[in-house]
Structures are given as structure tokens and as C-alpha cells.
Symmetry: D2
Subunit: 358 residues, 4 copies
Amino acid sequence: MGNTFGHLFKITTFGESHGPAIGVVIDGCPAGLSIDEQMITRELARRKPGQSRITTQRKESDLPEILSGVFEGYTTGSPIAILIRNTDQRSKDYSHIAEKFRPSHADYTYHAKYGQRDYRGGGRSSARETAARVAAGSVAKQFLKEKHIGIYAYVSQVGPVILEKKHTELDLKQTDQNIVRCPDPVTAEQMIEFIDKTRKNQDTVGGVITGLITGVPAGIGEPVFDKLHADLGKAMLSINAVKGFDIGSGFEGTHMHGSDHNDLFFTEDGEIKTKTNYSGGIQGGISNGQDIYFRVAFKPVATIMKDQDSVDVHGDATTVKGKGRHDPCVLPRAVPIVEAMSAIVMMDHMLLNANARI
Amino acid sequence: MGNTFGHLFKITTFGESHGPAIGVVIDGCPAGLSIDEQMITRELARRKPGQSRITTQRKESDLPEILSGVFEGYTTGSPIAILIRNTDQRSKDYSHIAEKFRPSHADYTYHAKYGQRDYRGGGRSSARETAARVAAGSVAKQFLKEKHIGIYAYVSQVGPVILEKKHTELDLKQTDQNIVRCPDPVTAEQMIEFIDKTRKNQDTVGGVITGLITGVPAGIGEPVFDKLHADLGKAMLSINAVKGFDIGSGFEGTHMHGSDHNDLFFTEDGEIKTKTNYSGGIQGGISNGQDIYFRVAFKPVATIMKDQDSVDVHGDATTVKGKGRHDPCVLPRAVPIVEAMSAIVMMDHMLLNANARI
Amino acid sequence: MGNTFGHLFKITTFGESHGPAIGVVIDGCPAGLSIDEQMITRELARRKPGQSRITTQRKESDLPEILSGVFEGYTTGSPIAILIRNTDQRSKDYSHIAEKFRPSHADYTYHAKYGQRDYRGGGRSSARETAARVAAGSVAKQFLKEKHIGIYAYVSQVGPVILEKKHTELDLKQTDQNIVRCPDPVTAEQMIEFIDKTRKNQDTVGGVITGLITGVPAGIGEPVFDKLHADLGKAMLSINAVKGFDIGSGFEGTHMHGSDHNDLFFTEDGEIKTKTNYSGGIQGGISNGQDIYFRVAFKPVATIMKDQDSVDVHGDATTVKGKGRHDPCVLPRAVPIVEAMSAIVMMDHMLLNANARI
Amino acid sequence: MGNTFGHLFKITTFGESHGPAIGVVIDGCPAGLSIDEQMITRELARRKPGQSRITTQRKESDLPEILSGVFEGYTTGSPIAILIRNTDQRSKDYSHIAEKFRPSHADYTYHAKYGQRDYRGGGRSSARETAARVAAGSVAKQFLKEKHIGIYAYVSQVGPVILEKKHTELDLKQTDQNIVRCPDPVTAEQMIEFIDKTRKNQDTVGGVITGLITGVPAGIGEPVFDKLHADLGKAMLSINAVKGFDIGSGFEGTHMHGSDHNDLFFTEDGEIKTKTNYSGGIQGGISNGQDIYFRVAFKPVATIMKDQDSVDVHGDATTVKGKGRHDPCVLPRAVPIVEAMSAIVMMDHMLLNANARI
């Protein structure tokens, strides 16, 4: 259960970290959308392990194969299946934890739920699953591009290093110009330095990614339970290692008074806008035409290179040794994942909105 | 769209603030659950307007009528419909905003989406809808009580007044002993004072509610998209005025290193536990048997008693006058709503787990 | 479970035969649809008990109350809740079967599933539930009318009395001109005579209703699992007492050769049509612009006025006495139900089609 | 849309007839189910083209590759993805119909819906899609086998050749003993003869498959919309070429009186049974412990070897020539498809029933 996301643009992912392949089936993509296969590959490359010294050194080619749903370069309305073969599995790296529960991983909880687990590299609980999301997200991005909707994400915090500038003060074209994916070069340098230091200490660190969606017309989002920001929140919280989400003024706004926080409406060039944007572009769960921005909190990666106390499947005390190839900080590689999930939610809600009025 | 929540324990709410009634239909409640109707009424009373000086003075009796699904005191497996009549509507209070968009309300976005709206008291976008959730949640609570699962929430921040104690240091039986629903009497007093001052200034204020779920066995929650905390997050973000959600260490945990943040396993009395609980009781989307705790950020209430600049449905500049009966701080009344949504998610995931293994 | 129907135009029904009320919540109806409340009442009157000598003599006023989702005569996009109070319950009529299983009713199966049941008048399994469907269907009919789609049903068989004419040879305006709802006056007379005889024998009889949907543009319906006729089939098979469904040539077509059965295309006035219509207006699950017609088989009503051997909840042999007020033939009252479910499926698939292409 | 089936045991199929591959992702299969991969291959072989002289001569190896969800021979609770590569596509066989609409195929309706189509071999509308269902069904069969539930289907009519015996009079082990899959050897011979004659006439013929499910305990199925037979009906009607479905007495029962049709209860060896079984094992949508049996009507295959009048995408008159490799009668190969869909529905409803009572 729980491997499908979306109301109308539905993605179902499958596959384990060390099985033969992972992939995604997308149902609900309208026919007639032009698909650039190279763009899917490029997006996967942004998430790919081994892309820089501050990511895991596992090497995956991550070449997507489109199995269905695209004919002569256009979607047909049929399900789009995309397959990504696993190539650099080193399953024996994991034999030492076959019977041990790694702290703050999903080993114990999967075991408790299913009575067994595919222990190789975390199996289904591995963040490798998110490659399938990135593939699906790149299809959604191609749809949104035609609607002039922009999808952005960037690293805005790594441990103690915080990017103080707002998205409105940044040049987001800079995001991919450095290996940490922070659009401010100075802060980026500090983040990289901090990750380098953390890596050398055989440790890991958490941080925050900021997401931004531009160009959304007013009126997108469903009231009550499927509010646009509620679906965005669920999308983000479903990403591995995410522990928090807020939108607009978020947790900071809780300190404010209504008279300061309310976004006053005015008209400019015949368009209704707001003077401030504490709402984060969404009011009552529905877009108001302003920028949608939000923060996603990532905990430090659970796999560290140090030995840790734990228990095994029999409940006996044991030691989990630091081994394998892992990320000291997951955030640079998580940027395309946040973007993918944003794109999937936005496209889904654009489709949902088609029947808002007769 | 978007008026149903849940995978197996499905609630569908209906009704507008100033229509004849609101209500909920629950599908998927197992047969044989003993239902205490008085408990539903009591829970509704905790959310009811007019309960103290720091809430809106609108008076609603909020008496639930069970229309179906309960026979001789037990659920039958058929849908449980609960109806709550609206009694104290003063729709004429709203005629002055029929054509105006109140700042940071959903007036404009509903208008943009639907081309029209029921403007009386916010119509469907009114927080009155949450009474239906509380009614449904009280059914879920009765189910969870039989499973020895505890559902708690309390106000942990009002504007600048922050409760510094963790849930483990508090006596949660104190929560309902004061009108602000903060279990620490001293902090409660400060919060009430701050709300009083805010009210006198014709202003409003935001804050944070902390949620807690105890007694959940390990293994509850679905992997990948329907992670337990992702569903909790969506549930909370769908509540009116909520702008943020984090679980366990949340946003604070982003500052930590993995070596500090990892929750080490140990065995006590034959049960696997963790030494710390930065995970917030959930790992890989599945419960690990420890306390599940999370924070929910509420923005300041948008309705203030001061005049505000805005635009009308024609896009012309106008002034929205401060009128009507509203809450200076929504948090005390939101505590039972957070509990209700927690209970609904937990019961839903308990049912989902029934088929985890053959 | 199982009380919601539809993909986008979703109806959830609730209520028991002898509880306080039954009703329906419709989610997904677009805003801006003009609603004629009188039409809902008129449709309910066509299904109402006590409407003629050949139906049950139970008297229900069946007056719908719209609780939400309609404002100033138009739908708002919010859920439409419609309530119908039960007024003529005689629950004591059923005390004699509280512990007995009536043959070919759902008493035993509900008991086996839920371990208990609301035995009064069949509780949730009563065909009274279908009044809620008729209310929802009348909303869908108002939508379809604006799209020039016609929804028709009529009784085409009662026991041995078979209407030999095809729908193309009939004047369907005649359907409601007689109490059995057969558009051919001569056959109608024979049917009524047969039902009268059956009633006098304290027996019941089955039959067939033919459904017809006209004016559907080509391209409506989803491929693979949610084929238009698969959803129509499920809709009809979910109606009480229905045991079969076929579309177009149906079971008769199984005797044919492909060379006779294939519907050849031709163009007339720029429109693509077929020379024959064995397909019943649907090919590959998608409408082709021709008339959609189908048959629905109803078993004889299970409640008869004769005593029958049975067992009780303890498994002991017993006799179920013929008592209560029931229909000798359910078909006249089932015509609006078949129409309602047709309308709901058609509207649902019209909405689903909105995103077929970008 | 519409490529997913099931409430809890959810299958999503993908792939086109002449694309690189077809496949299925199963979500919701409990962990711990032993999977015999050879059985999946064997079931696919029963559906495979080219298996006898009365089926199409297209050759497909139809070897399934399990990509995920099975570890060391057991399901893990993660999605089970099964891939089947297409190997014997001869897409150029279809270039002659790229712009023509084959009569009674889905060419025109797909074109009307999507504005384009993958014309090679029918693309997504090809019955090749059903191989993915058979793969998924074989997983469900392994689950049901452990629950002692039997899934059977056989050909009971080919054109005018009708098997008069009921399922209770047949030895269903004989079904696969002949190439037409009719368990009565004499009737089988007549059916084969008729198909041979039809094939030589370059024509096709329809028929009926009877399905049977044994060993289902009382209480399985959901009331109201998701009645067990409604879901079975939808499942069958979603199979290519199916035009009708009835259960138990079905269309024949419409001729009967209630006093003859009612299935009287009695107790035998402490178990509640019925003297007759006109209900077909289901009452009020829920199983009563008796055999579940139903009929599925298949129209004659639309592809014939004769030339036929039609129109092209421009609406101009044209001739569709008889070409390619096709089945004169689809029924022998449809037997495993009917079984697969029966198994999927039964397993799904077994899982749904897990939460019927607390």
C-alpha cells in the first residue's frame, strides 16, 4: 500500500535499491504532450549518486527507458512506464546488517510491519526510490512549462549555515552552478565547506530546501482536505529524511499579529495582487496568483561512518559498523526531488481544476 | 472535490457556515464499536464558539444527530452520518462583504476558482467545517481507546509566549483546566493575558499546537507516499489557518549531526526501544513504538476588527470594515481539531495495517 | 466500505430503511450548475413507494432537503448534501425477523460479515437506499441536459411478457404514461395484468429494464479498466435485485459471426457514424457517438407473502412468515434508479474526459 | 486514466501491443506470500498467442521478469512489478491501417478521445494488455490457494454450440485437456469444429465463458456500490470483447417467480447452506458460502480476414483489408483472463473484509 501518489496525475513507483530495477508508471497524463527524453535523463543526473565529492560515491548510470505511453515523441494518453535498471548494486556491502537494525533507518519498522525485509541497501525504504519520482516529475515539468509555470528549489540551510536572502532576492539560475545547489555563491561556499568538514568527521548533517512555484494562476487547489498546500506538504513529507514543511510565513508567522500578517489586495494592470505574501501564494487551500514558496526540513542522514549501538532481530544488543557509500548531506541531491514532487502536485491540481465550473 | 479524507476510514464532510447544517459521513468504520453519543457532544463542546472570553461570541449549540450506522449503541459497519444544524447564523452580518475580498481569507481564491461563492461567513471555507471533523474524530477516538492509543494536543505557543517544556515533562490532564488549553498553568496564564491584550487591540495572533500520540505499536504506517507522518502532515495542513507541520526534531533537527540525531536502539523488558526520540516515533513512515509528537503552526486569524484596504469583485479598491464575531486566537478551539485529525489518521492507518502480512 | 461511487462526480450514500433518515453527499459537481429542486422531488416521486396498486403500499413523502452546496439556485462547487427523512417506518413489522434469515435477502450475509445487523426493514441492505441515488442522479441529469445528453430507461420484460420492439421503434415519451413504465401501451397492459395476477398469488416476478443514453459525443470513457460500459455495468449490478447486465448485442451477439456483427463506419453530413449498432455505442470502452443501450436483469423480489422454510441466527430451522408491505414486481419503481445510475456514470465520465488531451 | 483496478489489491497495467514491453505493478499484496514464478509463466502460456491452430499465429515468448516486491521467494509487502517484453511485433503489418478505422475496433474512439493514437496492433486497446492481468492474477491465485478458494473458468458456448451442463455436472479438471477449454469433451469437439469452419471462412465467432469461484466463506463483499458481483461484473466487462455479464440465475431468472427463485436456508453439519443457488453465492453483494458462478459474453472478434467498408481519419470512405494474425475465436485464450480477473477481485475483497468488525 501507499506506492501511488496523485488524484488525476497518478504516479506509482516500484523497485528496491538492490533489486534488478526501479521505475514508475504514470497514469492520467493527457495525450499530446511533447516529451523530451533527454530532459528526463538530465533530471535524473541531478539526483544521481556520485555527482560530486559531497555525495555518495555509488555510481549509477540512471538511464531511463520509456516502455509505454509515448509514441512518435508525444504522450498518447496511455500509462507512461519508465524503467531504470540498477547497475552498481553491491549487495554484499549489506550482509553485515541483514539481522541488525541501523539506528534511525527504517530497518526495524519494516521488520515490525512485514515480519521480514529486503535488507539490501534498505530495499524499498532506500532513497533510491526517489529516482522514479524524479523521472515522473520531469514529465510534469514538461507539462507545466507549456503552462508557463516555473518550478524551483534550492538549498537554503546546511546545519548552521543559513541562507538569509529571500527567494525574491536571489538569481535562481545560479542554483546548479555549484555542487551544493545554493543560488548564493558565498553561502554555497560556506555550505560546501561545512559538508566537507562533516564528511571528514565521518558524520552527516541536515538542512532545509526552499521550494518555489511561479506563474500559477489564481484558483488552483481544492478546498477542505485536498488543499494545495496540504498536498504539497504530504508530497514533501513523503520524501526520505524529511521531518518538516511550512508554507509562506510558516512557523515564523506564528509570532505575528493579524494586522501585520494579512496580505492586502490591490489591483495592478487589471490583475489582483497582494502587497505582501505571507500567505505563500495560497489562501484557503487555493492559489491566489502570487508566488508559492515553502520550506522542507531534512534531518541529518542516518548512515554515518561511525560505529553505533543497536539491537538485532532477536532483540539482542549489537554494534552497527559504519560501512558502505553514503551522503554526508542529502540536500544537494534532494533539490531535484523537491522540484519533482512540486511539479507532480502542481500538474495534478491543474488537472483537478478542469472541472471547477461548468 | 477534496471533501473526503482517509484511505479506509473515510470521512466526507459537507455544509457551509450559514447554510442549514453541516455534517459528516464516515465510511469504513468496523462493526461492533461501542459509540458513546455524549462523547461526541463533549468533543464538539471543546471546539464550540462562545466557550470563553477569548473565543468568538457566536453561539452554536452544536448538538450532533446520528442519522445512520449506529444501532442499539454499536456501529453496524454501515456509513455513520452525523448532522449538526446551524442555529446562530447572522447572515446579514456578511452582506457588506458579498462583493469584497477580505484580506488573507479565501474569498478571492474561491471566487477565482468557482466564479461565484457563498459569501455568508466564508461559506464552505469557514472553520465551522471543522466541527464535522471533530464529530468524526470522536468516533475514531472511541476506536483507539479500545486499542489503548492515546490522542493528545495542547497549545505550546501563542505569539511570543512559548511553552519551553517538552511533552514528557508535562501533565496533559491539565490541558483542559484552563481556557487556552496549555497544560502548564503558568504559561497558560501568560498566553491568556497575551490574547486578552490582543483582543483589546482589535487584533489577532498565531501560535503552535503540539500533538502527541501514545501507545502506537511498531509497524503502523505505509511506506513511500502514505507515510504515517506524511498523512498526519496533510491532515494538519488541511485545517484552516495552518501554515506548517513538523515531526520529532523537525526544523530544529536540521541543525544537528547524524551522530547526535540518530536514535539508538536498546531492549527493555523484551521490548525494542530508542534511547532518544528525535524521530518522533516514526522511521521510514512507519511507527517504531515510541511517542509520536509533532507541531502545528497556525497563522494569526485573518479577521480583525480594524479596517483594511482591499479590492472588490470588479477589481476596484475598497475598504473591508472590521465586523462580526471572531476569535482573537484560534488555538484554544483548534486543540480538539488537531486531536480529531490525529485520531482519524491513526485509526485509518491501524485499519490499513490489517493486511500488512498474510 | 463501498458506500461511495464515482471517480470525479462522487456520491456517498448513507442511511437505513428504518433509521431517522437517508441521504447522499455529492462531491465533485462543478460550480455554476442551475439546480431545480422540484425536479429532484419529481424524480423521487417516480421511485416512491405507494405510487400505484402494483407497488408496495408503504407511504413515504420522500421530500428532499438540500443541506449544502447550492446557493441562490446554483451549485457552488462545494459538496451537495441531500437529506430524506424516513416517515412511515413500522419497525415493529420486522421484530418477527430480528433473529431469522429471510431467504434470498441479505440478512444472513450481513450477519455473517458484521456479526450483527440492523434488522428493521433490511437496514442498509434495503432498496430504500436507492432513493439517495435517485436524488444524486437528478443532479447529474440537470448537468447532462445542458450537454444535450438524454437519459432513458423503460421496462422491457416482466416475467414472460417481453417487449419485442427495439428502442429505435418506440416513443419513449410514453414510458411514464402507464404504471409499469413500458413505452408500448399494449405490452404495458399485458405486464400490468401479469403483475396483478402475481400479486394476487402472493408472489413476485422479475424482469428486464432497458437503458438508453443518447447524444453522447464520441470519445467519452476511459480505456482498460474504467471502460464506460464497465462502469455502467458496475453501476447497474450495484442496484438491489440486479443479476445481469449486457450492452449492445450483449448475450445475443455471442451467436453471431464477426462479418455480421461488425459495425461499418460511414460519413453522413460530415459526421462519422455506423451502419449498424451492435456495439451499443461503445468501442474499446469509449463512446463512438451512437446510441448507448443496455439491458439490466432483475430477479423476482425476495419478499413474498407466503411462508418459507429458513434458519435463524443460531442455525436452527424456522419459518419466515409472509408479512410487511412489499412490491410484487420491483421494475416500475426501478426505472428511475436505472436512469439515475446511468446519469451519474455519464456525468462522471464527461468530467473524466476533461483532461484527455492537453 | 483507468489503468488501475482494485481497492486494496491494486493492479496498474501499462504497455502497448507493439511497444517495447507490457507489464503490471501490484500494490497491496501482503508480505509473506510464497511466490512460484513458474506458475506465472504457466498462466501466461495459457493466454499466449500461437498455442494451437484455433488461435492467432503471432508468437510471443511471454516470459515474465519480476522486477521488485519478491525477495528470497516471498512477497515483501512492496509493489510487485512484472515485466513482459514484446518480441514478435511486426509493426509494419499495421502501416496500412495507420489512417483507417477498423470496424468495431477502438481505432475511431481512441482517435476521437486523444486526437491521435498508437495504431500499431491496436496499441493500448490491444488484448495484449490482458497478459499483464494474467500475471497479476497468478499472484492472486497463489494467495487464494492458501485460503482454499478455487478459481475456475471454461468455455460454455461458441456461437451456436452450447454446453448444456451446469458447473455442478462437470469435471473442471478436463478444461485444459482440449484446445478450446471446454470441460465436456463432446461439446469441446463440436466447438473446435465450429471454430475451424469459421476460420476457414475467414470469419470469427463469439461465445460465453462461465466463471466459478468455490470455497469462499460467507461474509465477503461490500454492501451498496462495491457489491462482490458488481466488482466481478466490472472486472469482466473491462476485458476486451466482453459485452455482457450475469450471475446466478441472471437473465434467465427474470422469467421466474420469487417463490421458485428464493434459495431456502437449511443447516448441514453445523453450516448454513441453501437448497438451491439461484443467487449465485452472493446475496446483497456479500458471499453466502455457496458457489459463486457467472457468465461472461464475448462478441465475435472484430478483426476478420475479409475486406470491409470503413472511413479514414479524414472521414473519407475507404476499405479495410483483412490482414495480420488474429484469433477466429477469442474464448479459449480468454479463459485464463476471466480466471485472473476473478482471482484479483476475490483477493481484493478478502483483504477489504479484514476490517469488517473490530
